[in-house]
């Protein structure tokens, strides 16, 4: 007590107290916000996948999407979106959203594959919708035609995702993400469900076979080697022009200076 009363009026007492308080609050918040994911241990066998999913939904999703997935002012209804939408949104970490920004961003998934499957089963049980797929079920290597896939991609996808699948900007800070390194099943599910700004591409307008072709073309574009080494982002003349002007003109200016310099 003597120690405290001695330092109470020290000029560093205020700042030290603030730092200590911030540290305590921060740690407590971190622990508290980490709790939900560490508590997700299920008694298997007794409950079905759907009821497991409902449990996760009520805890993790219902504050925005409503207790019965009916949607709210800040989040859409999930009735009829199907397991494909859940597998895409939760599996890529886009849902649950970290913050209410322009667009849900891809991040480390919060739920593991088993929990995602349970959530998907619950949402699929609400109303029929597109079903989730697995990478193994997409036989694009065997059934896809990459030439056709490229044609379909340029007609339907390239305006937003760039002609080489590198992604691009939309309005008000929204963007179409790059498709490089995206798992085939997520590409397929995005086409079927139309996540966020993206429109849907139904099986009637782009058949499942054609979707496999698009995936095959994207995989080949992803693994295609660049003869010249660096790809410069594959966004076309902007980066190429920038490099040409900065590096090329820089060299020319250097050469001009050297030419005009009197020799010693």
């Amino acid at each position: 007590m003597k120690l405290i009363s001695r330092f109470r009026r020290h000029r560093l007492a205020g700042p030290v107290l603030v730092v200590a308080a911030l540290f305590t609050v921060g740690t407590a918040f971190g622990v508290a916000s980490a709790l939900p994911s560490s508590q997700q241990v299920y008694a298997s066998g007794t409950s079905t996948l759907v009821s497991q999913g409902k449990e996760i939904f009520l805890r993790g999703c219902s504050s925005c999407h409503g207790l019965h997935a009916e949607g709210g002012s800040i989040a859409p209804s999930l009735i009829g979106v199907g397991s494909a939408a859940v597998d895409f949104q939760v599996g890529t970490g886009r849902m649950p959203m970290a913050d209410m920004s322009q667009q849900a961003m891809q991040k480390k998934p919060l739920y593991d594959p088993a929990e995602t499957a349970a959530l998907a089963a619950y949402v699929a049980s609400l109303a029929p919708g597109p079903s989730a797929v697995t990478n193994e079920s997409l036989t694009y290597e065997r059934d896809g035609n990459s030439a056709l896939g490229g044609q379909l991609f340029r007609t339907n996808c390239a305006m937003c995702h760039n002609f080489a699948g590198q992604g691009g900007a939309l309005t008000n800070g929204k963007y179409a993400p790059s498709l490089m390194g995206v798992e085939p099943k997520y590409i397929y599910e995005a086409m079927v469900t139309g996540p966020q700004s993206m429109p849907k591409f139904t099986d009637a307008t782009i058949t499942p076979q054609e979707k496999l072709s698009i995936i095959k073309w994207l995989q080949e574009a992803d693994h295609e080697k660049n003869l010249g080494g660096t790809s410069l982002g594959r966004v076309g003349p902007v980066t190429e022009g920038l490099l040409g002007w900065v590096l090329g003109l820089g060299l020319l200016i250097g050469a001009a200076v050297w030419l005009a310099m009197k020799a010693k």
């Binding site: 056709l148 044609q151 379909l152 007609t155 339907n156 305006m159 937003c160 691009g168 939309l170 309005t171 929204k174 179409a176 139309g194 966020q196 700004s197 993206m198 429109p199 849907k200 591409f201 139904t202 009637a204 307008t205 058949t207 054609e210 080697k225 660049n226 003869l227 010249g228 080494g229 660096t230 790809s231 050297w258 030419l259 020799a263 010693k264």
Partner: protein
């Protein structure tokens, strides 16, 4: 003389600075060194040629190597590029080094002279011309004079005629498309007709008109005919009665050709119902008949009236009512 303000010190022509000799001019060792430098540069060009030939002949074209910053790079392409660069660049560098270090460096002053030729030269020229004209007899021989004049004059006609190759006049081509009343909507590129039930709410489809049997679809056709189909909830529309009658169960069709510069407008944001042109960011509101809400486009995208035929396939109800795409000189803007 009075010492007034006009009598300041006059500016003196400083003349040329004293000539400073280069090291190579005064020091034989430096001269030898410069000579070596120049020949090394030329020799590097020789190595460049050898490198080019060697990599062309000796390296497999599918061999890739990893380089820092560059990543996986094709070895043959890399070495060909470096070799060709060295071949030409080092000849140039050698020549410049040679000129700068070893070639004579004394400054030479070339005084300007009057542009006008000397009076005698001018008189000589006129006399020569008169003499030539007189001896050719062009003043007397009227027939030769006129035939030569017509021959020279007609030479100019051919290049003017060749301007015809700048292309046939577009005539009605810019005002019309292949969409007629009853034309079926075919999916691009599959070429299959489409039903209303094929599109869910939030779905889009790129379509082209079905052409009469035996007609080849050309790139010009596609460039004019491309149409984007979008399905929304019917209650999301904010259209007048006529435009609403041009939609079918929430499906609305617009020309894909931007009214600004003719890019393909197809960035559809299904949550905001905005349609965005990738070239200059013109933004169209689908719920209000593609009204321009941002960007340089001056007119909304032309809407195609659609309906279903007896077989349930989507068809055009009528041709476009306005010319599609960007403005052109003779565009008929009476309908907007």
């Amino acid at each position: 003389m009075t010492n007034n303000s006009h009598d300041v010190e006059r500016f003196q022509d400083p003349g040329l600075p004293a000539h400073v000799h280069r090291n190579a001019d005064v020091d034989p060792k430096a001269e030898k060194r410069a000579e070596r430098q120049v020949s090394i540069l030329f020799f590097l060009s020789v190595l460049g040629t050898l490198l080019t030939i060697g990599s062309y002949v000796g390296i497999k074209s599918d061999k890739f190597v990893y380089l820092p910053i560059m990543g996986e790079t094709n070895l043959q392409q890399l070495l060909l590029g470096l070799g060709l660069t060295a071949t030409t660049l080092f000849i140039g560098l050698g020549a410049i080094q040679w000129a700068k270090k070893l070639m004579p460096d004394q400054e030479i002053v070339a005084e300007r002279h009057e542009f006008r030729s000397a009076e005698s030269d001018r008189e000589d020229l006129v006399a020569t011309f008169r003499e030539g004209a007189a001896s050719s007899g062009i003043g007397r021989r009227k027939l030769i004079k006129f035939s030569l004049a017509s021959a020279l004059g007609l030479v100019g006609l051919t290049p003017i005629l060749l301007l015809r190759d700048a292309g046939p006049l577009p005539h009605e081509e810019l005002d019309t498309t292949d969409w007629r009343a009853g034309t079926r909507l075919l999916l691009d590129p599959a070429g299959t007709p489409i039903k209303a039930s094929d599109l869910e709410v939030g779905a889009v489809a790129q379509v082209l008109p079905e052409l009469p049997v035996g007609t080849e679809r050309t790139l010009e056709n596609t460039g004019k005919d491309a149409v984007l189909l979008i399905r929304l909830r019917p209650e999301d529309f904010n259209l007048d009665a006529e435009r609403l009658s041009w939609t079918h169960e929430g499906i609305i069709a617009f020309s894909k050709i931007c009214t600004h510069m003719g890019c393909a407008v197809a960035l559809y944001e299904q949550q905001t119902h905005h349609l965005l042109c990738p070239c200059h960011q013109s933004t169209f509101d689908v719920t209000r008949a593609a009204k321009v809400i941002f960007g340089p486009a001056a007119r909304p995208l032309p809407q195609l009236a659609i309906d279903v035929n007896a077989d349930g396939y989507l068809v055009a109800k009528q041709p476009f009512t306005v010319p599609i795409g960007p403005s052109f000189w003779e565009r008929n803007s009476s309908n907007g």
